[in-house]
Symmetry: C2
């Protein structure tokens, strides 16, 4: 009887532990890398603004160099539209590292990026940079980018 009772008690408590201690961090890391790659492809193609913007959370913050802090989807959408309309603009990034909190709720990623745009003479120039993103799992289980910041490498 005592073992049955212990069994029942453990049975009742284990579900409380599982969603947190049981987070499969390799799976979460792989999910973020996959989503981020899809995002980089959409941004690289530079056509579908709705799709590009969908990877950020509604309350995301974008810290772009030489630009005031952008807060929320509408400000970010305008920034994306303006970037895509810039002559010679293209963007490509590679995410090299993803670290997920032990409960699988928050993550950060680091990587490098390459942007092109035309200089005053209309010649396309390349800018190499490095960046950090922070990701949050939304209530539906989807990872969304909540912080996006980068800066340039030495020229």
């Amino acid at each position: 009887m005592r073992f049955v009772l212990i069994g029942i008690t453990v049975f009742l408590l284990v579900p409380l532990l599982t969603p947190i201690q049981g987070a499969d961090l390799d799976k979460e890391r792989a999910a973020i890398l996959r989503i981020d790659k899809e995002w980089a492809v959409a941004a690289g193609e530079g056509r579908d603004v709705d799709r590009i913007v969908s990877f950020w959370a509604d309350d995301a913050k974008v810290y772009a160099p030489g630009t005031p802090l952008l807060v929320g989807k509408e400000a970010i959408r305008q920034f994306v539209q303006k970037s895509l309309a810039t002559p010679g603009f293209s963007i490509h990034w590679e995410t090299t590292e993803v670290v997920v909190s032990s409960d699988g709720s928050l993550a950060y990623a680091t990587g490098t990026n390459r942007t092109t745009l035309n200089d005053a003479q209309g010649k396309q120039i390349e800018i190499h940079g490095k960046g950090v993103t922070v990701w949050r799992k939304d209530p539906s289980g989807a990872w969304k980018c909540i912080i996006d910041i980068w800066n340039d490498n030495p020229t």
Copy 2:
């Protein structure tokens, strides 16, 4: 007897739950803000390199604008020493937001910064920026900065 057994079982399992589900996020947030303020004071005074560098984790990464990625304490120490030796250099930052993962293991912070240095004519100029840090709780329970990135506002 059955209640004693349940009591003992709960007693044994609760410590497993506590550090995770029981993370006091307000307390963790306050701890990071306090540590970050101490860090800002030390950096603002600009004298004690050991103390300034102690707020980063041994494997921290610093993403400074116009600088290659700095990985680890030694690279960061050299960067700090070089910055402090720059004529007219000073730094000040304000952290406005700290978000902690629900298990209290990882956090990010955002804020603004102001750097001064002398221009070519020896006149001190101010550069205003914005930045993001990522923090990890080390095994001793101390929060350390593991990612540090910032860029400039529009001039």
